[in-house]
Symmetry: C2
Amino acid sequence: MANEKKIDCVILGLLSHEELTGYEIKKRMDTMLKYFWSASYGSIYPALSDLVHRGLATKRESGENKRNKLIYAITDHGRDYLKEWLTLPVYKDELRYETLLKLFFGNEQGAECAVHHIESFEEKIEKELPYLLGAQEMLKKSLNDDTAHKYYLLTVEFGIKTYGAYLEWCKEARTLLMENGG
Amino acid sequence: MANEKKIDCVILGLLSHEELTGYEIKKRMDTMLKYFWSASYGSIYPALSDLVHRGLATKRESGENKRNKLIYAITDHGRDYLKEWLTLPVYKDELRYETLLKLFFGNEQGAECAVHHIESFEEKIEKELPYLLGAQEMLKKSLNDDTAHKYYLLTVEFGIKTYGAYLEWCKEARTLLMENGG
DNA sequence: AACAAATATATCAATATGATATATTGTAGA
DNA sequence: TCTACAATATATCATATTGATATATTTGTT
């Protein structure tokens, strides 16, 4: 077992907290994990089928409606798999910032264009930061309710720290670009 | 023109600075861009062929050896393409940190395991930071030699700022995990 | 001359994205 | 009650990319 499909691990991780549908898994990722991970439906649904196939998760239909929700739960086997993955060394931490890419090649278009990208980046960060601060406050209060909260808090504080650094950098970068000509 | 293949844009960006072989392109990415972007040979070589096919780059053989290097250069058409992409709004900035993922689900294995991942992360950052600081110093000195250096410096300083924030966070995170039990 | 390391190109199965199609459920307002 | 819209929910697929690997050449070292 080395270099597992990441999507399997994220899904099992989320299922280790609670039973979820594919749609809910996507929502969890787009809110709680969005600061350091993402995935598309195109990987989630096939992965769920595969996990059930391999006995790492179970699928059951909920309710008695026309079209039932498909609710997935982790199995003991799945939990073992997750636990093993958690102990393995991290394979890769990766940044994929298009903003930085456009900036690196910024000389081709000039300072005005670069400053504009930095401003957009800044706005996006400033918009998201309050949610992280809110989450931090809530998690700090409920730290004793659930031992898992400590781990959520850690990742939220990672977001807050890095976002703070981003905002500092934005200011300095704009200054550098606008001095002598712009 | 919207949502271009990123690999095309990175390659054209690098070729806008200088003529390069596929191998050299990969090396540039693994050194200069590694703090915010990466790509594999499996995307670089097919993309180069495609760029030539579309008239955005040219390919020529170098030297008179048995097996010649294939040197690629950007065309005017390619430069126009790059310039247009640079003005378009950023589509996506994305973090993909397996360390944070393992931390988020860390409750499943406990504090000791989580602390270990943080320490590994910390070591990796501490090892890379000196290179960034070295690059910063060099670029600051040669800022007047080439107008592009200002843009390189910007991305290097982004790396330095965020790495600083990471190290601060690592300390705090370890403290949080180790207090009352560990 | 022998050998290792770096240079260089290429391919491909496995993986993931981004877009889209489709249908249902909940709900707010007319 | 009807209706329209948003949210919920599952699914698929062409396209993009990775990670691994194969292969060969050139350069540097002993």
